[in-house]
Each structure stands twice: as C-alpha cells, then as structure tokens.
Amino acid sequence: MIDDLDYQLLAAVQQGLPIVARPYLQIAEQLGLDEQQVIDRLVRLKNQALIKRWCVVVKHRPLGYRANAMIVIAVPMALIDSIAAKIIQHSFVNLCYQRPQQGERWPYNLYCMIHGKDRDTVLQQWAELQQACELSQYRSEILFSRRCFKQRGAIYQPKP
C-alpha cells in the first residue's frame, strides 16, 4: 500500500532530484523526514513497481534522435498479442501499446514507436518491420512528429 507521504514524496521528486552531494537529504528536509526514510520509501516504491525506473531521463531530440515516428496498425483482436510479440523483437522499436479502436475515423488498435536519427532510416525500419511481421495486409499509418510543444514527466499532485 502507498500512503499520503508517498504521494508527497513523488510530488517532491517528479521534477527531478537536486544535483547536490546529498540530494535525498534535501528532499527529506522539505518533507520533514530523514534521509534514510526518503531512500527506503523510494526503494519500496520501486519494489512495488509503482516507480518503473529510478533513473536519468534523457531527452531524445537534443541527442540527435530527431525522427520520431508513431506507427498505428489495425489488426484483428484475436491476433494482436502474437503480432505485438513479433514486433517487440525488433530492437529499433521503442514502445508498443494496445489502444482502443475508434470506429472508421481511427480504426487502429496497435501502436508502436520508432525513434531514429533520420526519417529515411525510420522508413526503412518500418518497411523491414512490415515484412518481418507480415503487416502489409493490415491498414496502417506512420505519423512522424513535427513540433514538440511540451515534454515533461508526469505530474502527480499530492492528495489533499
């Protein structure tokens, strides 16, 4: 179980750990905890899989990964898990999700992301993926990103 203090802790760290010698101590002082309690709680939240990763979150655009494509595919529901299992075997695929179909205006249920250095490389990878996973028979679209208006970690408000 997680308690109110966990929410306060997540709210305090979500914008990033301070870059000082004793960062967990600084967070602890904000919350009226001691340093070890902060570390223990973060370890527990990680063990509970509420925190998926505790890490350096890198921005991909400044690092030269400028071609970011979201690919959407309309696959039969009966096959979606097995098709996804084939897709994620390709190391250039960064994310793969199922989302609900929206009728004819947006019939897609399988989403995957390829972050690549340039557009041509991503298009080649998509062609390779279509062939390897026999995706050409399904309706699909590739959506390259253009402007990034906002990129930031999830914001969780502490419970009142």
Partner: protein, 151 residues
C-alpha cells in the same frame, strides 16, 4: 560537444540511478572520477537540456488515470490550441504529428472521472473534438538511447 564523461553519464544511468545517500559519489567511484566532476557534468547536461530530470518514471496508470489524446486541428489554429493545452499542468508530451490528427498529448488525472471532465473542458475551451486513447496493454518499453562514445 559532449565529453566522454557526459556520454557515460547519459548512457549508463538510464535504467538505474543510485539510491544511496551520496549517489553522485557512487557514480564518481564507478567511473573513476571525482564527485565534483560528476556534479558539474550533470549540471551542464541539465542546463543544456540533454536530460529531462533525474528521478522517477512512474508505471502508467499505477497512480491515477492517463490517456493519449489526439485532436484534428486546422493548421492555422494549431499553435493557439497547442498553447492552450500545454498550459494544463495535467498535460505532458504535447506533439505535432504529420496526420489529419495532428495534435497528440498525454493527459493525466486522479481517476477516469476526472479524465473525462478534463477532456470535456479541453473540447469546450478549444472548440475541437478530442479522441481519448487510453493504454489497454503495454507490450514493451525501452526508452534507452545509446550514445556512441567514439562520436
């Protein structure tokens, strides 16, 4: 240009960052440099916008509710609508994509009820319909980016 130390800091800690009282010292010891070098390197990476933060990646939907949202906005109105949406503290990853659905963002809420309320508010404020696309299954996540140390 990124120094070898900057690249190591970016490459090696995308999965795991030390949960020790002095994490930057732990990293310094792993890499054979001083704690001050690690602190100043992270400060410059942060200032130069190479890293978003050092901190948690929360498991989707483990706290509250979230959904990907797509909207189809006429090009001439896109900046105005994007700015309105970015102003919401509940919104992250607001992107333009090449498609008739050209605005894509992630919306976070305490629960699915608040999610619906926020969507109605956004539709009303912008004057355009929004398509709510919550995640139903997560097959895989690998958001690590490998930097070539020899670049």
């Amino acid at each position: 240009m990124l120094s070898p130390l900057h690249k190591q800091l970016l490459n090696n800690y995308q999965q795991d960052f030390p949960l020790t009282a002095t994490p930057y010292l732990s990293i310094a010891e792993q890499l054979g440099v001083s704690e001050d070098q690690v602190l100043s390197a992270f400060q410059s990476l942060s200032q130069q916008n190479y890293i978003s933060r050092i901190g948690p990646v929360i498991t989707p939907n483990s706290i509250g509710a979230s959904a990907l949202v797509a909207m189809a906005i006429p090009e001439a109105d896109l900046q105005r609508v994007a700015d309105l949406i970015s102003a919401y503290p509940n919104v992250n990853h607001n992107y333009e994509r090449e498609n008739r659905f050209n605005l894509w963002f992630v919306l976070m809420a305490d629960d699915s009820g608040q999610l619906e309320t926020l969507i109605s508010e956004i539709e009303q404020q912008t004057g355009y319909a929004a398509m709510l696309l919550p995640m139903l299954a997560d097959y895989y996540i690998n958001l690590g980016f490998e930097l070539n140390l020899n670049d």
